[in-house]
Amino acid sequence: MSEKQKKATAYWKENVRYLFILLVIWFVVSFGAGILFKDALDAIKIGGFKLGFWFAQQGSIYVFVILIFVYVRLMNKLDKKYGYNE
């Protein structure tokens, strides 16, 4: 394997690891907190919101936005590390 290819493979591996972590969070806040564990979380109340309901209609969306911006930052750093930035 050439040096160039090794670099590409290493970059791809790190990228996939980030994706995995971010998608786990994506799944937990929406399908987890908003759907599967909604009833349990509804026992907790913050202001007028039952927590599970809040995650389903508000919280998950906030987290989605944050996730993408975190991804943008991580990838910009990763691109720099491997010299793929332009």
Binding site: S30, K50, Y84
Partner: protein, 564 residues
């Protein structure tokens, strides 16, 4: 000034603005027409994506659906935003690096096959037509209520406007019109929401107002009040659903994956300069979308509470003007079953006297809350901006599928750039006419139709694209059979349970208890499984295709989008 005058003024000004922008940024080449010349900034692309994305369904129908569905409505909120995470992480950067004009372009090249390209074109056409029909209907509804024309005339006026700027401007024209449309629609959505939030809870931020106490001095939380009112009338608690967890899960997943697989959303990311910009503009798009999507559930709560307080057990003769106005459109109907002259709005179907169309909740909301005339007119302009921007984006996908993917890539490869541009314009015109026909003879109400388009996108494109990027060894046989099985399965299920074909069926016959709206997730899984099984028995993709895959994984050197 009356609502009518305000509506004419605001709709007139915004339409003039869109047409002005379209003339100013008209397309000169196929590259302008398909990918706006390829030099759109991340922010402009984010705004255009948001406007493209937020359709008549998001603007007009969604808050209304949530109003009546309560917690069950969360599927739309999570589904139509969560898909952007998939889009940003799994698709957008790689497709931008790949750097072609359309989604069938990617499928055709990655799977080195004309058959794959044609299958992708057919899927793109089915998805886009299903979706665009709903938009034209939305345009018709807004016109009929606010400009006092009948729905069909409204659809035709909408067709002419869209035709004008999509055909003239192509992607370049619609990108900059969509930037303006985003501003109009978000302003139109937020102003009444903020007014009503202050009115009801004293909190100017609707997202917080929704969880605050009522302004009437009772100290009751708004959501508790609504839960109470709902159970009193025999409905489910607002914050609790009636759908099964399995179905909610399936619908949310289908909508998310469908979002990521919609061709008119994906192509937006071909218009930016670099891979880095594609990621960033996906983030900006979701941020801009989230403003509306976190406000909508608050609007639902406000509107539902207001509605119950206004109509429940009140004399029909004392109803405010808006009630009569909406009765005329047929979207609101009162049938005095027990002849007591009062309105009974209850869960029991035999006793309920009020039928309300979902779409009213947003459109009539400012009137119900007694807001000034210009706010009511603003909502009309916003609804039109939402419907027109999405319709234009979809028409572009349809025309590009025909002129670029079929005519240029399959039938007539040596067609000149000029002629291809004219074929694209002709295809857009035909598409508008077909969409208008469906708008006048709609197969269901706006969001129901749109929801099914997501199932189709989830079942066809998403697996093929994701496998194309993340599974280097995936070959054409696998991808094609996956797409074919996915979309046919979805079409079968949808027509069986929605239109009663193939023997029809009721809720009791649903497979795994999953509704047609959620079935896209099952069809998607079927697509993945079929693709991987077929792969085991067919040859590996050629070396140069595997190199394409290696190449799209590296962000640098994206260059410009090309059609060749």
């Amino acid at each position: 000034m009356s609502v009518q005058t305000w509506t004419y003024i605001l709709v007139g000004i915004t339409f003039a603005l869109y047409i002005g922008i379209a003339i100013y940024s008209r397309a000169g080449s196929t590259k302008d027409f398909y990918v706006a010349g390829g030099g759109v900034s991340p922010l402009a692309n984010g705004m255009a994506t948001a406007a493209d994305w937020m359709s008549a369904a998001s603007f007009i129908s969604m808050a209304g659906i949530i109003s009546f569905a309560g917690y069950d409505g969360s599927v739309y909120l999570m589904g139509w935003t969560g898909g952007y995470v998939l889009l940003a992480l799994l698709l957008a950067p790689y497709l931008r690096k790949f750097g072609k004009f359309t989604v069938p372009d990617f499928i055709g090249d990655r799977y080195y096959s004309k058959t794959a390209r044609i299958v992708a074109v057919i899927c793109a056409l089915i998805v886009s037509f299903t979706y665009v029909a709903g938009q034209m209907r939305g345009v018709g509804v807004v016109f009929s209520r606010f400009l006092q024309v009948d729905i069909d005339t409204g659809v035709i006026i909408g067709m002419i406007i869209v035709l004008f700027y999509a055909v003239l401007g192509g992607m370049k024209g619609i990108t900059y019109t969509q930037v303006a449309q985003y501003c109009v629609l978000i302003f139109a959505f937020m102003v009444p929401a903020i007014f009503i939030s202050i009115q009801m809870t004293g909190n100017p931020i609707p997202q917080l107002g929704m969880g605050s106490t009522l302004n009437d001095g009772s100290g009751t939380f708004l959501l508790d009040k609504l839960d109470g009112l709902s159970t009193e009338l025999g409905f489910n608690e607002y914050t609790d659903g009636s759908k099964s967890i399995t179905d909610v899960f399936a619908i949310t997943l289908a909508l998310m994956v469908g979002t990521a697989g919609l061709p008119h959303v994906i192509v937006r990311f071909f218009t930016v300069k670099k891979v880095k910009d594609a990621r960033k503009s996906a983030g900006l798009a979701l941020l801009l979308i989230a403003i509306l999507y976190t406000t909508a559930p608050a609007v639902s709560v406000f509107a539902k509470t207001n509605l119950i307080n206004t109509v429940s057990n009140e004399e029909y003769a004392n109803m405010p003007v808006w009630f009569k106005n909406w009765e005329e459109t047929g979207l609101l109907a009162f049938d005095d079953k027990n002849e007591d002259g009062k309105i009974q709005y209850v869960a029991d179907k035999n006793k309920n006297e009020l039928t309300i169309d979902n779409d009213i909740m947003v459109l009539a909301n400012p009137e119900i809350a007694d807001l000034p005339a210009w706010v009511i007119a603003l909502v009309a302009a916003g609804g039109l901006a939402a419907a027109l921007s999405t319709a234009a984006g979809l028409l572009l996908v349809i025309s590009a599928s025909v002129s670029h993917d079929l005519v240029k890539k399959v039938f007539k490869p040596n067609i000149s750039d000029k002629s291809e541009l004219w074929v694209a314009r002709g295809a857009a015109t035909v598409a508008v006419v077909i969409a208008g026909y469906f708008g006048i003879n709609p197969p269901g109400f706006v969001a129901a139709v749109v929801a099914l388009a997501f199932g189709l996108a989830a079942a066809s494109f998403f697996p093929a694209i994701v496998l194309g990027i993340f599974y280097k060894k995936m070959n054409k046989e696998g991808a094609i059979s996956g797409m074919v099985v996915g979309i046919i399965l979805m079409l079968f299920y949808m027509t069986k349970f929605k239109f009663g074909w193939f023997g029809g069926g009721t809720e009791a016959d649903w497979w795994f208890g999953i509704s047609p709206e959620g079935f896209g997730s099952i069809a998607m899984i079927a697509n993945f499984i079929v693709a991987i099984i077929v792969l085991q028995f067919t040859p590996e993709p050629p070396e140069d295709v595997q190199e394409i895959v290696e190449n799209i994984r590296i962000p640098s050197g994206a260059g410009e989008a090309t059609g060749h």
